[in-house]
């Protein structure tokens, strides 16, 4: 199990909409937001590879997301 802290930057004003979509993704918990363009996530995944694959997929498929930046990667 990999547990990661991740900052997601969105287009201005889209943080809430993105947060709502991310909340539906298995393993993601939205830990906080500035209410406008930045989200703090805790992201649990089976392994680092799965986490990476999922974050790439999100970045490329959600047009409101402008960047995903890991701040922490911890392994059980």
């Amino acid at each position: 199990m990999v547990i990661s802290g991740v900052v997601v930057e969105t287009i201005m004003g889209r943080a809430s909409a993105v947060a709502a979509r991310l909340a539906l993704v298995n393993g993601i918990r939205v830990a906080g937001s500035d209410g406008d363009h930045t989200l703090a996530l805790v992201w649990r995944a089976r392994c680092a590879e799965a986490l990476q694959r999922a974050s790439e997929q999100l970045l490329h498929s959600d047009a409101d997301i402008v960047g995903i930046y890991p701040t922490f990667v911890g392994r059980e």
């Binding site: 802290g5 900052v7 992201w43 392994c47 974050s55 047009a63 402008v66 701040t71 990667v73």
Partner: protein
Amino acid sequence: MSVSRRRFLELSAAASALAMVQTSGLPAFAAEVGGPDKWVQSVCRYCGTGCGVMVGVKKGKVVAVKGDTENHNQGLLCMKSAYFPEVMNAPDRLLYPLIRTNGKLQRATWDDAMALVAGRFKETVEKHGPDAVAFYGSGQALTEETYVANKLFKAGIRTNNMDGNPRLCMASAVAGYVSTYGKDEPMGCYEDIDAADVFFIIGSNTAEAHPILFQRISRRKRQKSSVKVIVLDPRRTETCRIADLHLSFAPGTDLAILNAMANVIIKEGLIDQEFIKDNVAFGEGTDVNKSFEDYKAFVAAYTPEKAAEISGCPADDIVRAARMFAEAHRATMSMWTMGLNQRTRGVWVNNLVHNLHLITGKIGKPGSTPFSLTGQPNACGGVRDGGGLSHLLPYGRVIANEKHREEIEKAWGVPKGTIQAKPGLATVDMFRALEDRKIKAMYVMCTNPGQSLPSVDRFRKAMSADDTFLVVSEAFHPTRTTELADVVLPSALWAEKEGVYGCTERRYQLLNKAVEPQGEARPDFQILCDLARRLGHADLVKWTRMEEVWQELQALSKGTAYDFTGMTRSRLRASHGLLWPMPSETHPGTKRRYVKGEDPLVAADWPKPIRFYGRPDNKAVVWLRPQQPPAEVPDTEYPFYFTTGRVLQHWHTGTMTRNCKSLQASYEAVAELNPDDAKSLKLKTGDQVRISSRRGQQQFQVKVTDASRRGLVFAHMHDQDHMCNRLTIDAVDPVSKEPEYKICAVKLERV
């Protein structure tokens, strides 16, 4: 693992991310999990942004990386650097020397390997002269390492055939700066991002190639609602997600667009006449012999409509871009990278970006600056500044200048005339000379030309030929170059050694050694000094400590436009990066060059706010550069443009990302095709396609995407199993000698 431990991990993850959301300056206490014994300050090993990182060490191994909150990246990292501990401990780390015996690379001792290398180099020089050997280095090597190689080859072996991979990425930016301002390197800094009102991003997918700078641009745009972002790129890249205006155009036609923008700016009275009068000269070819009126007449031919006809970009968009760029009382910052540099007219198109800043006076003020982005972590500091190319000597000196040669010969304690007066071969010519057997022995350090050279198959043959001798110093094996080598030397990687990196904004930073090299690996500094001694040049490498090399470099910079005499080792160690010029230990460093009151090389009594002291008349040059086509354009036989680039998760030839399990998801290079093109070729995502150019062919999986414009195919450069450089062209810019990776013609066949 107990539940409480999991809870602890989750709290740590949440806290680190929340710290960034609430205030970007708060520390991310990443990877305290597992408890590193110590954190060691360093710099990221990937792109040229030079992000500060802290390396977590436990029991002599790198176990974690976190962003340095006190450096310019404010604790943020991109996806790649967060996973560097995996790369340090990757299974393909090379742990001992290899010698090719009976066609196979086999384990050898250091002494046997070095004796063979020294013997073959000595024999080759004795039989065929010094220019029969060559060194091919890297913008990833430490400054001190490149310097040792430079000194050994130019003053010891006495050949100027000493080039490096910055020739493939930054040479056109260098020649652009030098021809316009007389000196290399940007005059601005990252802090300019925080003051810019307009970002003019051309030939750069900043979002993927320089993600931390993109984050800073994105932050600026959020902070000030009037900030605008203009992106010029044939592809609709991820960078366009924050663009207010995206100009897509046929590859190679941006010279016409930039000239048309200048035309609009002049016609609409958006120029800064006072700035031009005080600070700008005009030229054509290589002569500074034109006037503003000549320039005005020259660009008048490039109406927006004419540029639209050439480029396929709407004329209205060109006009909008010009107005946004030049609007009064707003600061404009340009950024560009390989989309401009890797071109046969790379220098010219660099000049044209500078032109826009010079005619509008948007330069040398907070937020107004032409700022080229660098692809490698030490292309600027080690190779450009340090003089590690075949025509250069350290700190702005050139081989062709007798006085410069004499200065360096004196400093190095070698007789006058030791350094050959004729510049050596630039990269592509160097590998062509290997192909022609004019060069018979080559030493490659910290780079992977067996994958990264354009038209790579022809050069792979030369590198692997029985009658050429190839030595490769590399941290990983196999790579597409080590597999061709006669000798492979295991080099220490990143946190296993100490040295200096210099990044995009003239920021020099110390990488501290955090762990011992793995296996029998050695720092390149040590390997090169050993080679020098074995070749009889011990006098050139008398150092016992790295700090002594740095002191020698500081002395060579003294009195030059690069002066960093004030950057002592201890000061570097105590800092999170220092910006030159820095001529004394009390000087704080220089954010903006050429600007009175900021740059110590502009005297306090200079009568104007700016002094372009790189040129004898203290003026920068606006060059008249016409639109010229690329070396190869589509035709009936090869009807598509082919272009290459980076993706976020990988870097260069993949040697430091492919081996990271976490980053393998998107490793395969796919051919990105426009939906209309895919339809006409009856291709869909997931199909296989054979792409051929006049130089070679490569099979790719298809990805259909409207990010590609019609007639353009893109593939990333990182995949050693699907090598885009089998297709690319080895035509070079006549001034910078940089190859035109970004444009060639191909045909596609469904497989």
